[in-house]
């Protein structure tokens, strides 16, 4: 009875918040349902005979989940997932309540859930996943977690509750994540990038300064500095400890012949099993940036673990589009807006790297909010290699700082040496967007780089003024 009431109230709340156009109603229904029945998540999964996949980590959760869902869907599986990226317990419950009938029966074969690190333990215990994927671990929201090591510890503790017989899929290239391998009842598999290449005209600048954000300099066993034979981005790569010889595990799923084609996407091969002659997948990915190669590799590995046919995976990957607000292009009249979520230094660096790669002159709006979901502390913007924007003076036509901490962002930009005359400060997000659009000629693109809550707000503004799809349906 309580379950029934919780679901009905949740459904009414979701309907009402959508009817009143108060956003996507992506967390509130879950919050209400949980007030009525605290064990609602467990109850929903008890009733459902479906396979669950959990995706966690600092960056790439939403995009990876989207790719996995695309492939599974294509394979004829009915899926349920928290597509809008609301990844705390309430957001997950909301997504499930939307899909179940009022008796709590979920008509789905697979649940694809992206889960925030701090909520992971609760969710793993409730849903008993078949597979848990950990993408990476970077400094992110330190005002919430204190330290990167705290975040990592949350994941480590949560993984102890993974059911026997489940599979743990880890990024071999991230020493922090690879170190999570438990050796308990679950099977551990690794994925990693073997080699990198660039398309002609695309010139990645690898930041090798000692100031780059680096969360895994030292071997956790002996404290010696890791040596890298390949750095892909952040602290990801092929690392090895020169003192105690611990090193990157040999990946079970390997991305080889990776050719990154700037904003256009990437092509690469995923080799797996022990017979690379036969077992490989050709990935042709339309999403830009090396970080999306990792997301795609993780999604491919996930689907292979679930025994999805190779051909279906290849088709699903080729058809994958940007997740909501993650390098998403929206047309507004004769102009384009490219929305690229930025929320931590490593992610921001990769976004700059990707949009700067074609070298053309750009107008940017950078929106810095310091609400709870963004992180209250905005110190991290000084860890971003913003200097990259000033290194090529012709790159920036104009740049607008916006959001609740617009002045802080403007100051960060000023200290890149970009020239104050190119910087506007406009805290109001909708006004900043209009100001930016006003600076464009027809056919040009406005690059909008918002933090999480700023992204939701901007997306809502664009929806109101044009025909962008509502985000909970995108």
């Amino acid at each position: 009875m309580r379950v029934w009431l919780a679901i009905v109230v949740g459904k009414i709340c979701a309907f009402a918040s959508r009817f009143l156009k108060r956003g996507g109603g992506s967390s509130l229904p879950g919050a209400l349902a949980r007030r009525i029945e605290p064990r609602i998540l467990i109850r929903l999964f008890e009733k459902a005979a479906m396979t669950s996949i959990i995706i966690t980590g600092s960056n790439g959760k939403t995009t990876t989940a989207r790719m996995v869902a695309e492939v599974l869907n294509r394979n004829g599986l009915r899926i349920v997932w928290n597509r809008s990226g609301a990844n705390m317990v309430n957001g997950i419950i909301s997504a499930l309540i939307e899909r179940c009938d009022i008796w709590g029966s979920l008509v789905a074969d697979v649940a694809v859930l992206e889960v925030d690190e701090a909520n992971l333990r609760h969710v793993i215990a409730a849903v008993k996943p078949k597979l848990v994927l950990v993408t990476n671990c970077f400094r992110d929201q330190l005002d919430r977690y204190g330290e990167v090591d705290t975040t990592l510890e949350l994941i480590r503790v949560a993984l102890k509750d993974a059911p026997a017989g489940s599979t743990l899929l880890l990024n071999a290239d991230d020493p922090l994540v690879a170190g999570l391998a438990p050796g308990g009842g679950c099977k551990t598999l690794f994925y990693g990038v073997e080699s990198l290449d660039s398309a002609p005209g695309y010139a990645p600048e690898v930041d090798t300064s000692e100031y780059r954000p680096q969360d895994a300099r030292n071997c956790p066993c002996c404290g010696a500095y890791y040596e890298y034979s390949l750095t892909t981005y952040g602290h990801l790569g092929k690392y090895r400890c020169p003192r105690c010889f611990s090193s990157r595990p040999v990946p079970d799923f390997r991305a080889t012949n990776v050719v990154v084609q700037g904003v256009h996407g990437s092509v690469f091969t995923v080799a797996f099993e022990h017979d690379p002659e036969d077992d490989f997948i050709e990935a042709s990915l339309g999403l830009p940036g090396l970080y999306n190669v990792y997301n795609c590799l993780a999604a491919v590995a996930c689907c292979l673990v679930l025994d999805i046919p190779k051909k279906v995976i290849e088709e699903g990957i080729a058809k994958s589009t940007s997740a909501f607000g993650r390098m998403e292009t929206i047309r507004i009249g004769e102009k384009n807006v490219l929305l690229a979520l930025v929320k931590n230094p490593v992610g921001f660096n990769e976004v700059i790297q990707t949009i700067a790669s074609d070298g053309s002159r750009k107008t940017l709006v950078v929106c810095l909010n310091d609400n709870f979901a963004d992180g209250r502390d905005i110190s991290w913007i000084w860890d971003v290699d913003m200097e990259r924007l000033s290194r090529h003076p012709s790159l920036i036509h104009s740049i607008i700082a916006s959001g609740t901490r617009a002045e802080d962002m403007a100051l960060r930009l000023k200290y890149t040496g970009i020239g104050e005359e190119k910087i506007d400060v406009e805290p109001g997000l909708d006004r900043a967007l209009e100001l930016g659009l006003g600076k464009l000629a027809p056919g040009e693109t406005l690059y909008v780089l918002p933090t999480y809550t700023a992204m939701l707000e901007i997306r809502e503004h664009i929806r109101r003024r044009s025909h962008a799809k509502e985000f909970w349906r995108a």
Partner: protein, 245 residues
């Protein structure tokens, strides 16, 4: 004129945007035509601290702090303490601040030794102090009477008689959440919990440090004023935000 800045452990003690302080010192000196050199100094290196005008020592995580703690005592303690006694200008933030003191006592009761340059002692607390901070510094920094920043630390620092507080807490927790003090000053050493990019939004304090560093070598130096419109706007916005959150 040249300003030589030593950045201590930039690779390990850089968790909360500390690089912003170096960028700010660098730019503000360069905008006045002063040549700047930043010398990174890390594990295993024993430089002559007498060759530096200013030392910056940032904050890191517990794991990195252990490595730094060992190295600091083993390879840098003597020369750094001597240079500090001699008047070297040092800005130490969060973990760096703690390590210049007598010790850091972990929750398990283990004492990690500092270099003892500052008469301060730090103990781990149960709750982490996290949030925006506004202080009123006990320094004459010119027109602006506040300093703003963000703190994120579990250490409680208590000052001995040999040092005085950097300022009085208006918003936030400061050294220990009890006595209302924030940071410390000893000779030309400035320790604080205002982590990460302290100097960009406190340009008066950045100039105060540059001034002190150059004065030591060149006598009274005149620093031409800069247009700090944006800096002070960010300073005021941070105060408003701190009082609201």
């Amino acid at each position: 004129m040249k300003l030589t800045i030593c950045h201590l452990y930039p690779d390990l003690m850089n968790t909360y945007g500390d690089r912003g302080n170096i960028i700010t010192l660098h730019r503000r000196a360069a905008w006045r035509g002063i040549e700047v050199e930043v010398v990174p100094v890390s594990v295993g290196e024993s430089p002559d601290f007498g060759t530096f005008d200013l030392v910056f020592f940032g904050g890191g995580q517990d794991k990195e702090q252990r490595i730094v703690c060992q190295d600091l005592v083993a390879t840098k303690k003597g020369p750094l303490v001597d240079a500090i006694e001699d008047g070297l200008v040092v800005l130490a933030v969060c973990g760096g601040y703690q390590l210049l003191g007598e010790y850091y006592r972990t929750r398990a009761g283990e004492e990690l030794p500092g270099i003892g340059a500052l008469d301060i002692r730090t103990e781990a607390g149960n709750e982490r102090f996290i949030g925006n901070v506004v202080i009123e510094p006990h320094l004459s920094l010119g027109g602006v009477r506040t300093m703003v920043g963000f703190e994120n630390h579990s250490g409680r620092t208590y000052l001995g008689n040999g040092v005085r507080p950097l300022g009085r807490v208006i918003v936030g927790h400061g050294n220990n959440g009890r006595d209302g003090s924030e940071g410390c000053v000893y000779k030309n050493v400035f320790g604080t919990y205002l982590h990460g990019p302290l100097l960009p939004k406190n340009p008066h304090f950045a100039d105060y440090l540059i001034h002190k560093a150059l004065d030591r070598k060149h006598g009274e130096v005149e620093l031409p004023p800069l247009d700090d419109g944006l800096e002070l706007r960010a300073h005021r916005a941070a105060i408003a935000r701190a009082k609201r959150t």
